[in-house]
Symmetry: C2
């Protein structure tokens, strides 16, 4: 054994089993060198194109409400052709109406599963509180209606280029309050990804504040449960995630647009800072490249520490919200089927 | 809006909602630039030192059995002082004996929980099949005995500098077979991290082959369920994980040492390639920096797809197996308490 080898082994011995005895520390952060990230082998053929795609634009900083609105319009445009095709593929019909004066989309599958006949899955869409108003916000709702075989009501809440906090949450709460007049809470589940996941959790906090019963179950997917840049994967998955890509682009700007001067750690903005005791059973979804993986697992742990029944599913290779895009990928089917099964275990018929 | 801004927004629109329509692809892999990884805010004060520590030595390539044995001895040395202190802290006593001729350590907490009076938690240690023979392999068993308040039997299976595959698995199966003579399988749970997680899964496969009943529940923690370099986080967490650090060091060499010429994808070596239908309920544990995060979530998904009840817990900031080290950290307590609760739900009294 060379002298170098012996030195290495000794260092190993002094730190492996004895990791506790380590004295060196790099509290200021460690330098991670550049590397090449291949498309992982164990994603479905249908998902490879999304996983292998270059990062979406993220370093966008609208400087005014008109610039935000221009961004919103351009992002929404493709939905006009994509969504009708997705609905047709999944056999989902869409009806636009209002509940409590709020615009909603009712998404109904060809066949509602027997267990879901009297249930409603309430959907809050993602998009950093500013993107995806109107039909553009229904994509995840369509997937859930199709794969979960349940009636979905997708709330077209006011977005923050029109009205900042608390408009979006107020609209979600108003629809929930109205629903409760005809549907017992044990037959209502609430779900949404990213901002939709944060709104799902904030709804539970607001329901408690306002004396409303909580829904039977919730599915905050990769929830934006903390608007501050707190979380390991904001660093380790920066530019690794090809969908949300980075905290430091339009995402961060949209946090301040929605908060409108409030503390980003207000539990109604960042529900991870709220009291999660008494939350309904929750299932959380993420991916190994998700910029919000840390948010997801921190939320999961905080729910479990509060004694809440909470499940976690993480998909190989997927970036933020990437399980909500491709109706042909088995990962998408699986994610929503798992959520529907979880809901079924916790809802009344 | 500047021309640049418009171009960016248009690119965004063409690819965000329309992500499916993306044609560009980087199947050959994407270049991720170098970055600084800070210690995450949301880890416990007790865990910060481990999380903030520099990577352990990993680029070690023993060239002969004596060189492997030298490494094994040096890694094991600190255990001699650390383990007695850990046992004392957790009120766990240790008795060394043999079962079916195999050396085992029986770890007994001061108080066995009422529900665990007639149960045994069977432990297979980690260490790439080559490290941690003898007492050095008991660390995780001590933590489980202390935090799970149950009797743990930790198997000192033959390691691969003495005997390659199938020696380790044979020893684990022999102890399990012997245990079944006095304890019904509904009162046996099996757990282990890394190699211990792979052995836990391989035991179930071998039990089926040999006509033995499966245990009531299993906890493969961050399991080395695939010995090939298959998994997103072998790349994205390379050098991010400060405990296992990289596939390409002694870890890979130890795979070939154990396999001894066999195909690394043999299900008895890489149980993720086995038939997981009919597996007992399983709880899996990982961390956001775990080199084996992909192995953990791929295993979790494969279990779920096989219809197995399977839970997943992922800890913020933790590297491979890092929840099995520090008895003072709340993350450690939490991980083992969750596993014990999961076992309790699925075992007979």
């Amino acid at each position: 054994m060379s002298l170098h080898r012996i030195a290495v082994v000794t260092a190993f011995a002094a730190s492996a089993s004895a990791a506790l005895a380590q004295t060196a520390s790099t509290e200021q952060g460690r330098e991670i060198p550049a590397y090449t990230l291949p498309v992982p082998e164990d994603v479905s053929p249908e998902m490879r194109r999304l996983v292998g795609a270059p990062p979406l634009p993220w370093d966008i900083h609208p400087k005014s409400i008109p610039e935000w609105k221009e961004l919103v319009a351009k992002v929404a445009a493709p939905a006009k052709t994509l969504l009708p095709a997705m609905r047709e593929k999944l056999g989902v019909t869409q009806e636009q109406t209002t509940i409590a004066g709020i615009n909603v989309f009712v998404l109904t599958p060809q066949t509602i599963a027997p267990e879901n006949q009297n249930r409603v899955f309430l959907h809050f869409h993602g998009g950093a509180y500013v993107l995806n108003p109107g039909e553009a916000g229904t994509r995840e709702g369509v997937l859930m209606a199709g794969f979960g075989r349940a009636k979905v009501i997708s709330v077209d809440y006011r977005t923050s280029s029109d009205a900042p906090y608390p408009a979006a949450l107020d609209d979600c709460v108003a629809v929930y309050r109205e629903l409760l007049k005809t549907t017992p809470p044990q037959r209502i589940a609430v779900f949404g990804t990213s901002t939709g996941g944060a709104l799902t959790m904030a709804l539970v906090l607001r329901a408690r504040q306002e004396g409303l019963p909580p829904p039977a179950a919730i599915a905050p997917g990769s929830p934006w449960s903390d608007m501050t840049k707190t979380g390991d994967t904001f660093y380790s998955h920066n530019l690794v995630d090809n969908f949300q890509v980075s905290y430091d682009g339009y995402l961060k700007d949209s946090a301040y647009l929605y908060a409108n001067g409030r503390d980003l750690k207000d539990p109604m903005l960042s529900p991870i800072y709220g009291d999660l005791k008494g939350f309904p059973p929750a299932i959380l979804t993420s991916g190994t490249r998700d910029l919000f993986l840390s948010l997801t697992v921190r939320t999961h742990r905080k729910l479990r520490r509060a004694g809440v029944e909470a499940d976690l599913q993480v998909f190989e290779g997927l970036s933020h919200a990437q399980y909500t895009i491709n109706p042909d990928a088995p990962e998408t089917r699986e994610a929503f089927a798992e959520i529907a099964r979880f809901f079924d275990r916790h809802m009344d018929r």
